[in-house]
């Protein structure tokens, strides 16, 4: 550090001027007087402007309280641009908003027009302490370390190191509370052999003969109704939801297993294999299933294979048949994990 440097100035400058270019390092220019500084009438006008902002603000704030009490909150009014709005909400909100805005606007107008606006330079001192002060602090540290005797008292040193190294251990163990490991739950759904397919939201069994070609049904397993705990129910629903469509059997190019359809009725997972959005955006002419989240597209007439988009895996198919009364049932659970890929799946 150069000691002859004036510490109030940036390096390379002397007496407020850059030594190379000769340009002032803090250019200020001539102080410009404002209209209100010269003309008392202009100052009076600015004063009135500020006062009226504060005055209107006071009226707005009182008005907000009055309209809260007076304006009916069942009345709807038509406001241009805004449309039909609740009169109470609109009047209270507008008046209160205007009220607080005008306090701020008045304060800024006051500062800009009437308060002094002379340019000033605020001088700052050097951030570095004097060399003697720094040497003194270093000396205090050294003396303190010597007084603890940590150099000689080996047993204290070692036990302290041991305690400090164990200190993070409880924190790591407590991470266990983030929940049990998923185990096989990511691979399994509540679908199983003989579970009836029921309509989502209305939970009716589905007769195969009721489905004409082109029909789409959003379905869930019947045993979802047995999962009573709400969180568990949502978890199972999130994995087990399927969509059911009836294709012309002649249109089916391939399936994930021999005879997994029932006379052209195919059941596929509803959970996108990309990041797990529920999808039932089924286009009956192309047999495409489009995920609205990232436009992954699956062909339900061709094993649910990906035909477009970021999904890396086909939609898992659920093998189905009918029971003795003609209602659709699953012949087994899903043969591969549904939903997005996960770490252990490989």
């Amino acid at each position: 550090m150069s000691h002859d440097h004036n510490e109030l100035e940036p390096y390379g400058a002397k007496d407020g001027v850059d030594v190379v270019s000769g340009v002032p390092v803090f250019p200020m220019g001539e102080h410009q007087l404002r209209r209100a500084d010269i003309d008392p009438k202009a100052a009076k006008r600015a004063e009135l402007q500020v006062a009226s902002m504060f005055g209107i603000s006071a009226i707005c704030l009182l008005g907000a309280v009055i309209s809260y009490v007076v304006v009916s909150n069942t009345l709807f009014i038509n406001v241009p641009m805004v449309g039909k709005v609740n009169a109470n909400h609109f009047s209270v909100g507008t008046l209160f908003g205007l009220g607080i805005f005008l306090i701020g606007a008045g304060a800024i107008h006051w500062a800009k027009k009437l308060m002094p606006d002379d340019e000033i330079v605020q001088e700052r001192h050097s951030l570095t302490s004097a060399p003697e002060e720094r040497a003194e602090v270093a000396e205090i540290y050294k003396r303190g370390a010597a007084e603890t005797g940590i150099g000689e008292r080996k047993i204290i040193r070692r036990t302290l190191l041991g305690a400090l190294s164990l200190f993070p251990l409880p924190l790591i163990v407590m991470l266990r509370d983030l929940g049990p490991m998923p185990g096989t739950r990511l691979r399994e759904t509540i679908w199983d052999e003989g579970i009836h397919l029921v309509t989502d939201a209305t939970y009716r069994k589905i007769k195969a003969t009721d489905m004409q070609i082109g029909t789409l049904i959003n379905a869930v397993p019947e045993n979802l109704l047995e999962v009573e705990h709400e969180d568990e129910n949502l978890n199972e629903r999130g994995k087990a939801s399927i969509i059911l469509v009836r294709l012309d059997p002649a249109d089916i190019v391939s399936q994930q297993g021999e005879g997994w359809d029932y006379q052209g009725i195919v059941a596929y997972s509803k959970i996108c294999t990309h990041v797990g959005c529920p999808i039932s955006l089924y286009q009956q002419r192309t047999h495409h299933l489009l995920c609205p989240c990232h436009q992954s597209t699956f062909d339900l007439s061709d094993s649910g294979n990906v035909v477009f988009g970021p999904a890396a895996r086909r939609m898992p198919q659920l093998p189905i048949t009918v029971d003795g009364e003609g209602y659709l049932v699953a012949t087994s659970g899903f043969q591969e994990p549904v939903g997005p890929s996960f770490w252990e799946r490989g």
Binding site: N86, I206, L216, N218, Q284, R285, T297
Partner: protein, 258 residues
């Protein structure tokens, strides 16, 4: 093309339509909810056949059997014809991803005749009766749940429509009447899947229609719904108008007073 055509059998047509109307009225009064065939006169069918051969057969074939330019209409039913023709989707203007909605070319009488004729080609869903479209007893909350389960994925939660693949769109439902919503569900027009009365019962359909009618009323207690498109328009508004206003205030604060 057919707007001002004069057919020799005008009187017979009028009688036919009158009979048809009587049939629909009878069906509306009847308490059974089973879809039933309306009383159709032979004249109406002939009138419909004439219109069909003139306006539809170049794509759908002289007997409605379908060609490389248009699908078979055997078994699509009267509901499908009424939906496609009354919304102007048919006759189509040309091949494409989907036939857009436009002004209807045929009038009500002609549509009824076309529907009556196509219904004779094979059994298919009939035009819903007034009784089926009565939503006065419908359960609105159930309708909302069913709409979100079965319709919202394509038509959007607010029924404003949405994008499909390859340039197709699911249309907005904001101008659709109860009859056409019902007909679309039972006939599955274009890329829409079928929601027949056997898989989605009549009372569920009525609940869905009642819910859509509620959406159509479009009450926005918070003011301008910005098209009810959600974060797209709302985000655009707040980035342009909201941040714009903040910028203007910031510039005013920073500007030097004169």
């Amino acid at each position: 093309m057919a707007l001002s055509r004069r057919h020799p059998a005008v009187l017979a047509t009028v009688i036919g339509v009158a009979l048809g109307t009587m049939g629909i009225a009878y069906a509306a009064v009847d308490s059974s909810t089973k879809p039933k065939t309306t009383l159709v006169s032979q004249t109406q069918v002939e009138e419909g056949k004439a219109l069909f051969i003139e306006g539809c057969s170049s794509c759908h074939g002289l007997a409605g059997q379908g060609t490389s330019d248009g699908p078979s209409l055997i078994g699509v039913g009267a509901a499908s014809v009424d939906f496609q023709v009354s919304t102007g989707r048919m006759p189509g203007v040309g091949p494409g991803i989907q036939a857009p909605k436009k002004k209807a070319i045929y009038n009500e009488t002609e549509i009824a005749a076309l529907a009556a004729y196509v219904a004779t080609l094979g059994p298919g869903p009939a035009i819903p009766t007034a009784e089926l479209l009565d939503t006065s007893g419908a359960e609105l909350a159930l309708g909302g749940e069913l709409f979100r389960t079965n319709c919202a994925q394509c038509h959007g939660v607010s029924g404003r429509g949405g994008a499909l693949s390859e340039g197709g769109v699911a249309p907005s439902l904001m101008d659709s009447d109860a009859k056409n919503i019902y007909q679309a569900m039972i006939s599955g027009p274009q890329n829409m899947p079928v929601f027949s009365d056997t898989t989605l019962p009549v009372e569920d359909k009525q609940a869905i229609i009642a819910y859509i009618e509620q959406l159509q009323k479009g009450e926005n207690p918070g003011g301008n719904g910005l098209g009810r498109l959600g974060p797209v328009t709302e985000g655009l508004f707040i980035w342009v108008v909201g941040l714009g206003a903040l910028l203007a205030v910031a510039i005013w604060i920073g500007a030097k007073a004169k």
